[in-house]
């Protein structure tokens, strides 16, 4: 994957002006980096392949499976960002906190809602009222 990233970088760099070493263009530096990255990833693969156990003292390289809780957690943040402008800061924060607390095991709804409400209120006072940061108001207009 890292090798592919290096290759893609090099390809896009070649579409820019490379210039000469005397007068380097915009593409020269990223092209060098792309080639260097391909070389490093190649060296890493060779090391893992040929050094056997010695090279594999680190844990073997494998793409890890994402646990359900992490996916739910990430999904909630994605949903919150998607609705951030439309619902506004206070409502999005409140709903996101309720969902995240629930995912992490806060089973009692009353505590969950109360805590989310209090934290949202505190952050609203801190960021919007005190620091005067223009956060999205959304349709509730707060």
């Amino acid at each position: 994957l890292v090798f592919v990233f290096g290759a893609v970088t090099s390809c896009f760099s070649l579409q820019m002006s490379i210039g000469t070493f005397r007068a380097p263009g915009s593409g020269l530096f990223p092209l060098c980096l792309g080639i260097l990255l391909m070389a490093l990833s190649g060296a890493h693969v060779l090391r893992v392949l040929f050094q056997g156990e010695e090279g594999n003292k680190e844990r073997p390289v494998k793409i890890p499976g994402l646990p359900r809780q992490v996916i739910l957690f990430l999904g909630t943040i994605v949903a919150a960002i998607l609705f951030f402008s439309r619902l506004g800061y206070p409502l999005t924060s409140f709903l996101m906190l309720v969902a995240l607390l629930r995912i992490l095991g806060m089973k009692r709804w009353a505590w969950n809602v109360l805590l989310s409400f209090m934290v949202t209120g505190a952050s609203y006072v801190l960021f919007v009222q005190w620091l005067k940061i223009p956060l999205p108001k959304g349709w509730i207009g707060l």
Binding site: V2, F5, G6, T9, F12, M16, S17, T20, F21, R22, A23, P24, G25, S26, G27, L28, F29, P30, L33, G34, L36, L37, L40, S41, A43, H44, R47, E54, E58, R59, V61, I63, P64, P67, Q69, V70, F73, L74, I77, V78, A80, I81, F84, S85, S93, M96, L97, L100, L101, L104, G105, M106, L115, V119, S123, F127, L131, I133, P134, L135
Partner: protein, 503 residues
């Protein structure tokens, strides 16, 4: 020397205004909290609070952010001692004997020695900074683009060598960071690169988004995966009256504190994650010089005093390359560099002349900050320890809320939040694959400087790469880089030779 002292006194005049004392206090408190709480480190902490400094003048802003940095280092020792969980990587060595002391009911003296050692180290470190920074800044005026390029390359290689499990993996992360750093307008010609016609990408990838993503969101996701109730069950909260160390403790610790200070300051001046190397070196040296090395690992107070002093001293010394060269050697100072640039201050050899108020004000504030931290850490340790009782299931969503809100406030941009989330996912994955995020972040911040230095050097030499080795200072940096690259190869060859000889 006298001139430096005069400037320092003027700096105290700036730092001691009510306004700056307030921001120093806020920085120290928030930093301690960040250090104490698992799930958010100084890098994400400083990055998160940069937006809060937009309305401040540059001096007050950097005073507050620097306070967060060394406050987090103080706070990190609390979790190491009470939980055996290092709040920061620099606190790993403190865990060994600190936690053992806590197990024997001596958490109080361990925490107090940390605070006292850090205060002494911080104080001595500041005087080192005062006397070393101005002459170094003068020397740095002789640096041209070739020297800067070679120094930055050395910084990447040293950082990659000592972080993570593999040099190649860390170097890959650094190169990825450099590539990400090329997104946006070319710093020399102004041509758009890798923007794919997106206006949001024209100004490049926001480094705050990368920092919060990799070190804030990534850490939270890694915590979400772990069993949630592990931490809360093991907190040992010492009582106030049990905090004070005995005279014997102090006698044992003082030499370790002084040695740790010296080691930390020296290590802080060279490229690499200074606090980590400094704490490790200090622990090893203390063990070597001790008359009772067998006590190490079982609760030796020198094993806490030395590394904690080295940690604090290295943090102070790390400000020297940041201020006088404009080159941060570690991620927290890289974030501070970003903050300085946001506030329109360009660090480098001319900083002391162009912004004397900022330079001397921040240095004086560090002394003040250390004093505040000493006052905070001794009587309020039980309070900070109690914060550790906040369940992670409550803490982690709060961190996410602060990350999202903090990120939006930087540019009022939803796009930046997406970037942050992307790097959060990446941070989580690279942790699982044993990669290291620090080289990527440092490379991202230094990338544009490195490219400009590279291209300027080639233009100056009319395309001759010999410029990097024909200039003596540059050659020394490149030879050091080569030496650091060869260390793992020689180590592996030595191991296989010994293995071959043994069979």
């Amino acid at each position: 020397m006298v001139e430096s002292l005069q400037h320092l006194f003027q700096g105290f005049g700036i730092a001691m205004t009510i306004h700056n004392i307030f921001y120093c206090l806020i920085g120290a408190i928030v930093g301690t909290l960040i250090g104490v709480l698992p799930g958010i480190g100084p890098i994400a902490g400083i990055a998160l609070l940069i937006p809060a400094t937009f309305s401040l003048n540059p001096t007050s802003a950097i005073i507050m952010l620097a306070g967060i940095y060394y406050g987090a280092m103080y706070g990190g020792s609390t979790t190491s001692i009470l939980l055996n969980v290092p709040g920061e990587t620099a606190s790993v060595m403190t865990c060994i004997d600190g936690y053992q002391m806590a197990q024997k009911g001596r958490a109080g003296p361990a925490l107090a020695i940390c605070a006292i050692g850090s205060f002494i180290a911080g104080t001595i470190g500041i005087f080192g900074l005062v006397f070393l920074a101005p002459p170094l800044a003068e020397a740095a005026l002789a640096f041209g683009p070739a020297e800067y390029f070679s120094l930055m390359v050395l910084g990447f290689v040293v950082l990659s060598n000592v972080t993570g499990t593999s040099l190649i993996k860390s170097l890959m992360m650094a190169v990825i960071g450099l590539i990400i750093g090329t997104i946006g307008l070319d710093p020399v010609t102004g041509v758009a690169r890798f923007t794919f016609d997106s206006i949001s990408l024209l100004s490049g990838i926001e480094f705050v988004a990368v920092a919060i993503g990799l070190f804030g969101i990534g850490e939270v996701l890694a915590n979400v995966e772990k069993p949630l109730e592990v931490l809360e069950e093991r907190v040992i909260v010492p009582r106030l009256r049990d905090l004070y160390p005995s005279l014997q403790d102090l006698r044992k610790a003082i030499k370790a504190i002084l040695r740790g200070t010296g080691i930390g300051f020296g290590v802080g001046l060279v490229p690499g994650p200074a606090p980590v190397i400094a704490t490790y070196s200090s622990y090893m040296i203390e063990k070597k010089v001790s008359k009772h090395p067998e006590e190490f690992g079982k609760g030796a107070i020198e094993g806490v005093a030395g590394p904690e002093s080295a940690n604090n001293s290295a943090c102070q010394a790390a400000f020297i390359p940041l201020f006088v060269l404009g080159i941060p050697f570690a991620p927290p100072t890289a974030i501070l560099l970003g903050a300085l640039l946001i506030h329109g201050v360009i660090p480098g050899p001319m900083l002391i002349e162009e912004h004397p108020q900022l330079f001397w004000g921040v240095i004086a504030s560090m002394y003040l900050g250390n004093f505040i931290l000493l006052l905070l850490n001794l009587p309020f340790v039980p309070l900070f320890a109690n914060i550790l009782r906040i369940p992670k299931k409550i803490l982690l969503p709060l961190v996410i809320l602060f990350c999202v809100t903090g990120m939006y406030t930087v540019n009022n941009s939803i796009f930046d939040i997406w970037v942050m989330l992307f790097f959060g996912g990446l941070g989580f994955l690279i942790r699982k694959l044993d990669f290291e995020g620090a080289p990527l972040l440092l490379a991202l911040v230094l990338g544009p400087k490195l490219e400009v230095a590279f291209r300027q050097s080639l233009m100056m030499s009319h395309g001759d790469f010999g410029i990097f080795v024909s200039r003596p200072i540059s050659m020394i940096f490149l030879l050091s880089t080569l030496a650091f690259l060869m260390i793992p190869v020689i180590r592996t060859a030595w191991r296989s030779m010994r293995k071959g000889g043994g069979t």
